[in-house]
Protein backbone atom coordinates (compact mmCIF):
# COMPACT_ATOMS: atom_id res chain seq x y z
CA UNK A 1 0.00 0.00 0.00
CA UNK A 2 1.40 3.40 -1.01
CA UNK A 3 0.64 6.54 0.91
CA UNK A 4 0.54 9.95 -0.77
CA UNK A 5 0.32 13.20 1.14
CA UNK A 6 -0.21 16.82 0.13
CA UNK A 7 3.26 17.09 -1.32
CA UNK A 8 2.43 14.12 -3.55
CA UNK A 9 5.31 12.22 -1.96
CA UNK A 10 5.10 8.62 -0.94
CA UNK A 11 5.87 7.61 2.60
CA UNK A 12 4.92 4.86 5.01
CA UNK A 13 4.11 7.11 7.95
CA UNK A 14 0.95 6.27 9.91
CA UNK A 15 -0.19 3.73 7.34
CA UNK A 16 -1.44 0.49 8.89
CA UNK A 17 1.04 -2.32 8.32
CA UNK A 18 -0.36 -4.48 5.50
CA UNK A 19 0.63 -7.91 6.86
CA UNK A 20 -0.73 -7.06 10.31
CA UNK A 21 -4.12 -6.10 8.84
CA UNK A 22 -4.23 -9.29 6.77
CA UNK A 23 -3.20 -11.41 9.75
CA UNK A 24 -5.84 -9.72 11.93
CA UNK A 25 -8.46 -10.72 9.36
CA UNK A 26 -7.23 -14.30 9.29
CA UNK A 27 -7.14 -14.52 13.07
CA UNK A 28 -10.67 -13.11 13.31
CA UNK A 29 -12.00 -15.67 10.85
CA UNK A 30 -10.31 -18.55 12.69
CA UNK A 31 -11.38 -17.36 16.16
CA UNK A 32 -15.01 -16.83 15.19
CA UNK A 33 -15.27 -20.15 13.35
CA UNK A 34 -14.01 -21.80 16.53
CA UNK A 35 -16.31 -19.80 18.85
CA UNK A 36 -19.41 -20.57 16.77
CA UNK A 37 -18.85 -24.30 17.26
CA UNK A 38 -19.80 -23.73 20.92
CA UNK A 39 -22.84 -21.40 21.12
CA UNK A 40 -22.31 -20.93 24.89
CA UNK A 41 -19.01 -19.20 24.17
CA UNK A 42 -20.86 -16.42 22.30
CA UNK A 43 -22.78 -15.65 25.51
CA UNK A 44 -19.45 -15.23 27.33
CA UNK A 45 -18.17 -13.14 24.42
CA UNK A 46 -21.25 -10.86 24.61
CA UNK A 47 -20.56 -10.26 28.32
CA UNK A 48 -17.18 -8.76 27.35
CA UNK A 49 -18.70 -6.25 24.91
CA UNK A 50 -17.03 -2.86 25.24
CA UNK A 51 -13.72 -4.30 26.46
CA UNK A 52 -10.53 -4.15 24.44
CA UNK A 53 -7.98 -6.94 24.93
CA UNK A 54 -4.51 -6.62 23.48
CA UNK A 55 -2.78 -9.91 22.77
CA UNK A 56 0.87 -9.50 21.91
CA UNK A 57 2.83 -12.37 20.41
CA UNK A 58 6.54 -12.24 21.27
CA UNK A 59 8.73 -14.24 18.94
CA UNK A 60 11.95 -15.38 20.57
CA UNK A 61 15.09 -15.77 18.51
CA UNK A 62 17.96 -17.72 20.06
CA UNK A 63 16.50 -17.28 23.53
CA UNK A 64 16.25 -13.47 23.27
CA UNK A 65 12.97 -11.57 22.76
CA UNK A 66 12.56 -10.89 19.03
CA UNK A 67 9.82 -9.26 16.92
CA UNK A 68 6.41 -8.59 18.42
CA UNK A 69 2.98 -8.68 16.83
CA UNK A 70 -0.01 -7.16 18.60
CA UNK A 71 -3.70 -7.73 17.95
CA UNK A 72 -6.62 -5.93 19.56
CA UNK A 73 -9.58 -8.15 20.34
CA UNK A 74 -13.05 -6.62 20.70
CA UNK A 75 -15.56 -9.26 21.84
CA UNK A 76 -19.29 -8.97 21.19
CA UNK A 77 -22.47 -10.99 20.76
CA UNK A 78 -21.52 -12.29 17.32
CA UNK A 79 -17.93 -13.17 18.08
CA UNK A 80 -14.62 -11.38 18.39
CA UNK A 81 -13.56 -8.52 16.14
CA UNK A 82 -9.79 -8.39 15.65
CA UNK A 83 -8.02 -5.15 14.74
CA UNK A 84 -4.36 -4.56 13.95
CA UNK A 85 -4.40 -1.16 15.63
CA UNK A 86 -6.43 0.60 18.31
CA UNK A 87 -5.84 4.25 19.14
CA UNK A 88 -6.57 4.02 22.88
CA UNK A 89 -5.19 2.04 25.84
CA UNK A 90 -6.66 -1.49 25.98
CA UNK A 91 -8.35 -2.75 29.17
CA UNK A 92 -5.85 -5.57 29.47
CA UNK A 93 -2.61 -6.56 27.76
CA UNK A 94 -1.67 -10.23 27.51
CA UNK A 95 1.73 -11.02 26.08
CA UNK A 96 3.87 -14.10 25.62
CA UNK A 97 5.36 -16.42 23.05
CA UNK A 98 2.84 -18.13 20.73
CA UNK A 99 3.43 -21.44 22.57
CA UNK A 100 3.00 -19.90 26.04
CA UNK A 101 -0.22 -18.13 24.96
CA UNK A 102 -1.58 -21.33 23.40
CA UNK A 103 -0.97 -23.15 26.71
CA UNK A 104 -2.56 -20.27 28.61
CA UNK A 105 -5.76 -20.20 26.56
CA UNK A 106 -6.12 -23.99 26.49
CA UNK A 107 -6.11 -24.34 30.26
CA UNK A 108 -9.05 -23.60 32.57
CA UNK A 109 -9.47 -20.24 34.30
CA UNK A 110 -8.53 -21.53 37.75
CA UNK A 111 -5.02 -22.61 36.80
CA UNK A 112 -3.33 -19.20 36.91
CA UNK A 113 -0.74 -17.96 34.47
CA UNK A 114 1.16 -20.31 32.21
CA UNK A 115 4.92 -19.96 32.20
CA UNK A 116 6.12 -17.03 30.08
CA UNK A 117 2.76 -15.20 29.98
CA UNK A 118 2.53 -11.64 31.24
CA UNK A 119 -0.75 -9.84 32.01
CA UNK A 120 -1.16 -6.11 32.62
CA UNK A 121 -4.36 -4.19 33.29
CA UNK A 122 -7.82 -5.22 34.46
CA UNK A 123 -7.46 -8.75 35.85
CA UNK A 124 -11.23 -9.30 35.80
CA UNK A 125 -11.28 -8.76 32.04
CA UNK A 126 -8.26 -11.07 31.67
CA UNK A 127 -10.04 -13.74 33.75
CA UNK A 128 -13.28 -13.43 31.74
CA UNK A 129 -11.30 -13.64 28.49
CA UNK A 130 -9.48 -16.74 29.78
CA UNK A 131 -12.87 -18.28 30.63
CA UNK A 132 -14.15 -17.38 27.16
CA UNK A 133 -11.38 -19.22 25.32
CA UNK A 134 -10.52 -21.90 27.90
CA UNK A 135 -14.16 -22.88 28.37
CA UNK A 136 -14.91 -23.67 24.75
CA UNK A 137 -16.43 -27.12 24.67
CA UNK A 138 -17.32 -28.30 21.20
CA UNK A 139 -20.01 -30.95 20.82
CA UNK A 140 -18.58 -32.63 17.73
CA UNK A 141 -21.51 -35.05 17.50
CA UNK A 142 -23.93 -32.09 17.26
CA UNK A 143 -21.76 -30.42 14.61
CA UNK A 144 -21.58 -33.65 12.63
CA UNK A 145 -25.33 -34.18 12.85
CA UNK A 146 -25.85 -30.97 10.87
CA UNK A 147 -23.92 -32.48 8.00
CA UNK A 148 -24.99 -36.11 8.01
CA UNK A 149 -28.15 -36.20 10.15
CA UNK A 150 -28.82 -37.21 13.77
CA UNK A 151 -28.94 -40.99 13.32
CA UNK A 152 -25.64 -41.38 11.50
CA UNK A 153 -23.91 -38.79 13.72
CA UNK A 154 -25.07 -40.68 16.81
CA UNK A 155 -23.80 -44.00 15.40
CA UNK A 156 -20.50 -42.41 14.47
CA UNK A 157 -20.26 -40.72 17.90
CA UNK A 158 -20.94 -44.06 19.64
CA UNK A 159 -18.30 -45.73 17.46
CA UNK A 160 -15.76 -43.00 18.30
CA UNK A 161 -16.52 -43.31 22.04
CA UNK A 162 -16.19 -47.12 21.83
CA UNK A 163 -12.90 -46.75 19.96
CA UNK A 164 -11.62 -44.29 22.60
CA UNK A 165 -12.57 -46.68 25.43
CA UNK A 166 -10.91 -49.57 23.61
CA UNK A 167 -7.84 -47.40 22.94
CA UNK A 168 -7.58 -46.42 26.59
CA UNK A 169 -7.85 -50.08 27.68
CA UNK A 170 -5.38 -51.19 25.03
CA UNK A 171 -2.89 -48.57 26.18
CA UNK A 172 -3.25 -49.63 29.83
CA UNK A 173 -2.76 -53.30 28.86
CA UNK A 174 0.26 -52.41 26.73
CA UNK A 175 1.90 -50.54 29.63
CA UNK A 176 1.15 -53.40 32.07
CA UNK A 177 2.51 -56.06 29.70
CA UNK A 178 5.62 -54.02 28.87
CA UNK A 179 6.32 -53.44 32.56
CA UNK A 180 5.87 -57.13 33.37
CA UNK A 181 8.16 -58.16 30.48
CA UNK A 182 10.95 -55.78 31.52
CA UNK A 183 10.60 -56.60 35.22
CA UNK A 184 9.99 -60.32 35.19
CA UNK A 185 11.17 -61.75 31.84
CA UNK A 186 14.29 -59.79 30.94
CA UNK A 187 14.85 -58.47 34.51
CA UNK A 188 16.14 -55.17 33.05
CA UNK A 189 13.97 -53.32 35.55
CA UNK A 190 13.34 -54.22 39.20
CA UNK A 191 9.81 -55.21 40.24
CA UNK A 192 7.88 -52.28 41.69
CA UNK A 193 7.79 -53.97 45.16
CA UNK A 194 11.58 -54.45 45.19
CA UNK A 195 12.06 -50.87 44.02
CA UNK A 196 9.84 -49.56 46.82
CA UNK A 197 11.75 -51.69 49.40
CA UNK A 198 15.07 -50.40 48.01
CA UNK A 199 13.90 -46.77 48.20
CA UNK A 200 12.61 -47.33 51.75
CA UNK A 201 16.07 -48.77 52.59
CA UNK A 202 17.77 -45.69 51.11
CA UNK A 203 15.50 -43.44 53.19
CA UNK A 204 16.23 -45.43 56.36
CA UNK A 205 19.98 -45.30 55.65
CA UNK A 206 19.80 -41.51 55.10
CA UNK A 207 17.94 -41.09 58.40
CA UNK A 208 20.49 -43.33 60.20
CA UNK A 209 23.39 -41.29 58.79
CA UNK A 210 21.68 -38.04 59.83
CA UNK A 211 21.26 -39.38 63.35
CA UNK A 212 24.86 -40.65 63.44
CA UNK A 213 26.11 -37.28 62.19
CA UNK A 214 24.17 -35.49 64.93
CA UNK A 215 25.54 -37.84 67.58
CA UNK A 216 29.16 -37.37 66.34
CA UNK A 217 28.68 -33.59 66.41
CA UNK A 218 27.37 -33.78 70.00
CA UNK A 219 30.32 -35.94 71.10
CA UNK A 220 32.76 -33.50 69.44
CA UNK A 221 31.18 -30.59 71.33
CA UNK A 222 31.40 -32.53 74.61
CA UNK A 223 35.09 -33.41 74.04
CA UNK A 224 36.06 -30.02 72.58
Amino acid sequence: MNRHDESGQESGRESPATPAVLLAGGLELALNTWLRLDPDSLVRSAALYGKVIMVELVFTTAGAAGPRLAFYLLPGADGIQVAATYPDAPHVQIRGTPLALTNQFRQGSGEGLASGVEVQGDSQVAKAFQELLGGIDIDWEEQLSRLVGDAFAHQLGAAVREFRTWGRQALTTLFTNAAEYLQQETRDLPPSGAMAAFLDGVDALRSDIDRLEARVRRLQQRCG
Partner: protein, 253 residues
Protein backbone atom coordinates in the same frame (compact mmCIF):
# COMPACT_ATOMS: atom_id res chain seq x y z
CA UNK B 1 -12.29 17.51 -13.58
CA UNK B 2 -15.26 18.39 -15.76
CA UNK B 3 -17.16 15.32 -14.62
CA UNK B 4 -17.11 16.62 -11.05
CA UNK B 5 -18.30 20.09 -11.89
CA UNK B 6 -21.08 19.42 -14.36
CA UNK B 7 -22.99 22.30 -15.84
CA UNK B 8 -26.30 23.25 -14.32
CA UNK B 9 -28.41 21.03 -16.54
CA UNK B 10 -26.58 17.74 -16.84
CA UNK B 11 -24.40 15.32 -14.94
CA UNK B 12 -23.02 11.88 -15.68
CA UNK B 13 -24.78 8.61 -14.96
CA UNK B 14 -22.16 6.09 -15.90
CA UNK B 15 -21.15 7.16 -19.41
CA UNK B 16 -24.48 8.86 -20.12
CA UNK B 17 -25.18 12.56 -19.63
CA UNK B 18 -28.50 13.09 -17.89
CA UNK B 19 -30.28 16.02 -16.20
CA UNK B 20 -28.67 16.48 -12.75
CA UNK B 21 -32.01 16.20 -11.00
CA UNK B 22 -32.53 12.72 -12.40
CA UNK B 23 -29.27 11.20 -11.15
CA UNK B 24 -30.40 10.50 -7.57
CA UNK B 25 -33.51 8.73 -8.88
CA UNK B 26 -31.52 6.64 -11.35
CA UNK B 27 -28.89 5.69 -8.74
CA UNK B 28 -31.76 4.75 -6.40
CA UNK B 29 -33.09 2.48 -9.16
CA UNK B 30 -29.73 0.72 -9.41
CA UNK B 31 -29.47 0.12 -5.66
CA UNK B 32 -33.14 -0.88 -5.27
CA UNK B 33 -32.36 -3.50 -7.86
CA UNK B 34 -29.18 -4.87 -6.25
CA UNK B 35 -29.90 -4.37 -2.49
CA UNK B 36 -30.79 -7.96 -1.58
CA UNK B 37 -27.78 -9.44 -3.40
CA UNK B 38 -25.38 -6.57 -2.75
CA UNK B 39 -23.11 -8.36 -0.25
CA UNK B 40 -23.00 -11.57 -2.28
CA UNK B 41 -22.16 -9.63 -5.43
CA UNK B 42 -19.45 -7.65 -3.63
CA UNK B 43 -17.85 -10.90 -2.52
CA UNK B 44 -18.11 -12.41 -6.00
CA UNK B 45 -16.91 -9.40 -7.95
CA UNK B 46 -14.02 -8.45 -5.69
CA UNK B 47 -13.18 -12.09 -4.86
CA UNK B 48 -13.60 -11.17 -1.20
CA UNK B 49 -10.95 -8.45 -1.35
CA UNK B 50 -13.48 -5.73 -0.48
CA UNK B 51 -13.35 -6.99 3.12
CA UNK B 52 -9.62 -6.22 3.28
CA UNK B 53 -10.14 -2.79 1.71
CA UNK B 54 -12.70 -2.02 4.43
CA UNK B 55 -10.30 -3.25 7.12
CA UNK B 56 -7.60 -0.85 5.86
CA UNK B 57 -10.09 2.01 5.84
CA UNK B 58 -11.23 1.20 9.38
CA UNK B 59 -7.66 1.12 10.61
CA UNK B 60 -7.20 4.62 9.21
CA UNK B 61 -10.23 6.01 11.05
CA UNK B 62 -8.59 5.77 14.48
CA UNK B 63 -12.07 5.38 16.01
CA UNK B 64 -12.10 4.51 19.71
CA UNK B 65 -14.56 3.86 22.54
CA UNK B 66 -17.17 6.52 23.27
CA UNK B 67 -16.91 8.35 19.94
CA UNK B 68 -19.65 9.32 17.49
CA UNK B 69 -19.23 8.08 13.95
CA UNK B 70 -21.27 8.74 10.82
CA UNK B 71 -21.15 5.97 8.21
CA UNK B 72 -22.41 7.65 5.07
CA UNK B 73 -23.85 5.63 2.20
CA UNK B 74 -23.48 2.82 4.72
CA UNK B 75 -25.69 0.51 2.67
CA UNK B 76 -25.85 -2.96 4.08
CA UNK B 77 -23.87 -2.04 7.18
CA UNK B 78 -20.51 -3.73 6.50
CA UNK B 79 -18.49 -0.86 7.94
CA UNK B 80 -21.07 0.20 10.54
CA UNK B 81 -21.11 -3.30 12.04
CA UNK B 82 -17.40 -3.07 12.78
CA UNK B 83 -17.59 0.55 13.89
CA UNK B 84 -20.23 -0.36 16.50
CA UNK B 85 -17.70 -2.63 18.20
CA UNK B 86 -15.00 0.05 18.08
CA UNK B 87 -17.12 2.81 19.69
CA UNK B 88 -18.44 0.41 22.35
CA UNK B 89 -21.62 0.77 24.41
CA UNK B 90 -20.98 4.46 25.20
CA UNK B 91 -20.41 5.52 21.61
CA UNK B 92 -22.78 6.00 18.68
CA UNK B 93 -22.72 4.96 15.05
CA UNK B 94 -25.16 6.60 12.65
CA UNK B 95 -25.68 4.60 9.49
CA UNK B 96 -26.97 6.94 6.79
CA UNK B 97 -27.98 6.06 3.26
CA UNK B 98 -30.10 7.87 0.70
CA UNK B 99 -31.59 4.59 -0.43
CA UNK B 100 -34.40 3.09 1.67
CA UNK B 101 -33.89 -0.45 0.31
CA UNK B 102 -30.20 -0.50 1.22
CA UNK B 103 -30.90 1.06 4.62
CA UNK B 104 -33.60 -1.53 5.37
CA UNK B 105 -31.19 -4.31 4.36
CA UNK B 106 -28.51 -2.83 6.65
CA UNK B 107 -30.89 -2.49 9.58
CA UNK B 108 -32.18 -6.05 9.14
CA UNK B 109 -28.67 -7.47 8.93
CA UNK B 110 -27.19 -5.56 11.89
CA UNK B 111 -30.22 -6.29 14.09
CA UNK B 112 -29.89 -9.98 13.22
CA UNK B 113 -26.27 -9.80 14.37
CA UNK B 114 -27.41 -8.40 17.73
CA UNK B 115 -25.96 -4.95 17.04
CA UNK B 116 -28.50 -2.66 18.66
CA UNK B 117 -28.52 0.20 21.16
CA UNK B 118 -25.60 2.29 19.98
CA UNK B 119 -26.54 2.42 16.32
CA UNK B 120 -29.06 4.68 14.59
CA UNK B 121 -30.35 4.53 11.03
CA UNK B 122 -31.02 7.70 9.06
CA UNK B 123 -32.19 8.07 5.48
CA UNK B 124 -30.25 11.10 4.36
CA UNK B 125 -28.75 12.79 1.30
CA UNK B 126 -24.97 13.16 1.65
CA UNK B 127 -25.23 16.60 0.04
CA UNK B 128 -27.59 17.93 2.74
CA UNK B 129 -26.76 16.13 5.97
CA UNK B 130 -29.51 16.61 8.60
CA UNK B 131 -27.09 17.01 11.54
CA UNK B 132 -25.84 20.06 13.45
CA UNK B 133 -22.30 21.39 12.86
CA UNK B 134 -19.43 19.63 14.69
CA UNK B 135 -21.37 16.47 15.56
CA UNK B 136 -19.15 13.52 14.63
CA UNK B 137 -15.63 12.43 15.58
CA UNK B 138 -15.28 10.52 12.35
CA UNK B 139 -17.13 10.11 9.06
CA UNK B 140 -16.70 7.13 6.78
CA UNK B 141 -18.06 6.64 3.28
CA UNK B 142 -17.24 3.41 1.52
CA UNK B 143 -18.01 3.01 -2.18
CA UNK B 144 -20.67 5.72 -1.98
CA UNK B 145 -19.16 9.03 -3.03
CA UNK B 146 -19.10 8.26 -6.76
CA UNK B 147 -22.90 7.88 -6.74
CA UNK B 148 -23.45 11.34 -5.24
CA UNK B 149 -24.61 13.90 -7.82
CA UNK B 150 -22.53 16.84 -6.53
CA UNK B 151 -19.53 15.38 -4.75
CA UNK B 152 -18.17 18.77 -3.76
CA UNK B 153 -21.42 19.56 -1.89
CA UNK B 154 -21.19 16.23 -0.06
CA UNK B 155 -17.59 16.94 0.97
CA UNK B 156 -18.55 20.38 2.30
CA UNK B 157 -21.46 18.86 4.25
CA UNK B 158 -19.16 16.20 5.70
CA UNK B 159 -16.63 18.82 6.75
CA UNK B 160 -19.42 20.84 8.41
CA UNK B 161 -20.76 18.01 10.61
CA UNK B 162 -17.28 16.81 11.57
CA UNK B 163 -15.94 17.87 14.97
CA UNK B 164 -12.61 19.73 15.06
CA UNK B 165 -9.91 17.09 15.39
CA UNK B 166 -12.02 14.51 13.58
CA UNK B 167 -11.32 12.91 10.23
CA UNK B 168 -13.23 11.76 7.19
CA UNK B 169 -12.19 8.52 5.53
CA UNK B 170 -13.34 7.90 1.96
CA UNK B 171 -12.98 4.41 0.50
CA UNK B 172 -13.71 4.42 -3.20
CA UNK B 173 -12.81 2.78 -6.47
CA UNK B 174 -10.14 4.78 -8.19
CA UNK B 175 -7.76 4.65 -11.11
CA UNK B 176 -5.22 1.82 -11.38
CA UNK B 177 -1.65 3.01 -11.08
CA UNK B 178 0.19 -0.32 -11.22
CA UNK B 179 1.84 -0.89 -14.63
CA UNK B 180 -0.12 -3.21 -16.94
CA UNK B 181 -3.13 -3.42 -14.62
CA UNK B 182 -5.49 -1.14 -16.58
CA UNK B 183 -6.29 -3.41 -19.59
CA UNK B 184 -6.91 -6.40 -17.30
CA UNK B 185 -9.07 -4.27 -15.01
CA UNK B 186 -11.05 -2.84 -17.98
CA UNK B 187 -11.75 -6.31 -19.35
CA UNK B 188 -12.81 -7.50 -15.92
CA UNK B 189 -15.13 -4.61 -15.15
CA UNK B 190 -16.77 -4.23 -18.58
CA UNK B 191 -17.04 -7.91 -19.50
CA UNK B 192 -16.87 -10.08 -16.37
CA UNK B 193 -18.77 -7.78 -13.96
CA UNK B 194 -21.95 -7.35 -16.12
CA UNK B 195 -21.87 -11.08 -16.91
CA UNK B 196 -21.70 -12.08 -13.23
CA UNK B 197 -24.37 -9.42 -12.51
CA UNK B 198 -26.63 -11.03 -15.10
CA UNK B 199 -26.02 -14.58 -13.89
CA UNK B 200 -26.35 -13.94 -10.14
CA UNK B 201 -28.63 -10.91 -9.81
CA UNK B 202 -30.21 -11.08 -13.30
CA UNK B 203 -29.27 -7.44 -13.74
CA UNK B 204 -26.41 -6.72 -16.13
CA UNK B 205 -27.32 -3.03 -16.57
CA UNK B 206 -26.85 -2.11 -12.90
CA UNK B 207 -23.41 -3.68 -12.84
CA UNK B 208 -22.48 -2.02 -16.14
CA UNK B 209 -23.45 1.28 -14.50
CA UNK B 210 -21.22 0.46 -11.51
CA UNK B 211 -18.25 -0.15 -13.85
CA UNK B 212 -18.91 3.05 -15.80
CA UNK B 213 -19.41 5.16 -12.68
CA UNK B 214 -16.01 3.98 -11.41
CA UNK B 215 -14.38 5.31 -14.61
CA UNK B 216 -16.15 8.67 -14.26
CA UNK B 217 -15.08 9.07 -10.62
CA UNK B 218 -12.24 11.57 -10.04
CA UNK B 219 -8.77 10.09 -9.80
CA UNK B 220 -6.75 9.99 -6.58
CA UNK B 221 -5.10 13.41 -6.88
CA UNK B 222 -8.30 15.14 -8.04
CA UNK B 223 -10.29 13.81 -5.11
CA UNK B 224 -7.54 14.84 -2.70
CA UNK B 225 -7.69 18.39 -4.09
CA UNK B 226 -11.50 18.38 -3.85
CA UNK B 227 -11.23 17.44 -0.19
CA UNK B 228 -8.79 20.28 0.43
CA UNK B 229 -11.15 22.71 -1.36
CA UNK B 230 -14.00 21.54 0.88
CA UNK B 231 -11.97 22.59 3.92
CA UNK B 232 -10.27 19.36 4.95
CA UNK B 233 -6.67 19.57 6.12
CA UNK B 234 -3.76 17.12 5.99
CA UNK B 235 -5.46 15.37 3.06
CA UNK B 236 -3.78 12.18 1.94
CA UNK B 237 -4.61 8.96 0.18
CA UNK B 238 -3.52 5.34 0.20
CA UNK B 239 -3.63 3.23 -2.95
CA UNK B 240 -4.83 -0.35 -2.46
CA UNK B 241 -4.56 -3.23 -4.95
CA UNK B 242 -2.57 -1.22 -7.46
CA UNK B 243 -4.85 1.83 -7.26
CA UNK B 244 -8.07 -0.04 -8.11
CA UNK B 245 -9.22 1.32 -4.77
CA UNK B 246 -7.96 4.31 -2.82
CA UNK B 247 -8.60 5.43 0.75
CA UNK B 248 -8.60 9.21 1.19
CA UNK B 249 -8.31 10.76 4.63
CA UNK B 250 -8.69 14.40 5.62
CA UNK B 251 -8.92 16.14 9.00
CA UNK B 252 -10.85 19.11 10.31
CA UNK B 253 -8.89 21.27 12.76
Amino acid sequence: MSQDKPDKETTHFGYQQIPAMEKAGKVAGVFDSVADKYDLMNDLLSLGVHRWWKRFALDLTGVKAGQRVLDLAGGTGDLAGRLVRLVGPNGLVVLADINASMLAEGRRRLTDEGLVGNIAFVQADAEALPFPDNTFDCITIAFGLRNVTHKENALVAMQRVLRPGGCAVILEFSHPTAPGLKPVYDFYSFTVMPLVGKLVANDADSYRYLAESIRMHPDQETLRRMMAQAGFERCEYFNLTGGIVAVHRGYKF
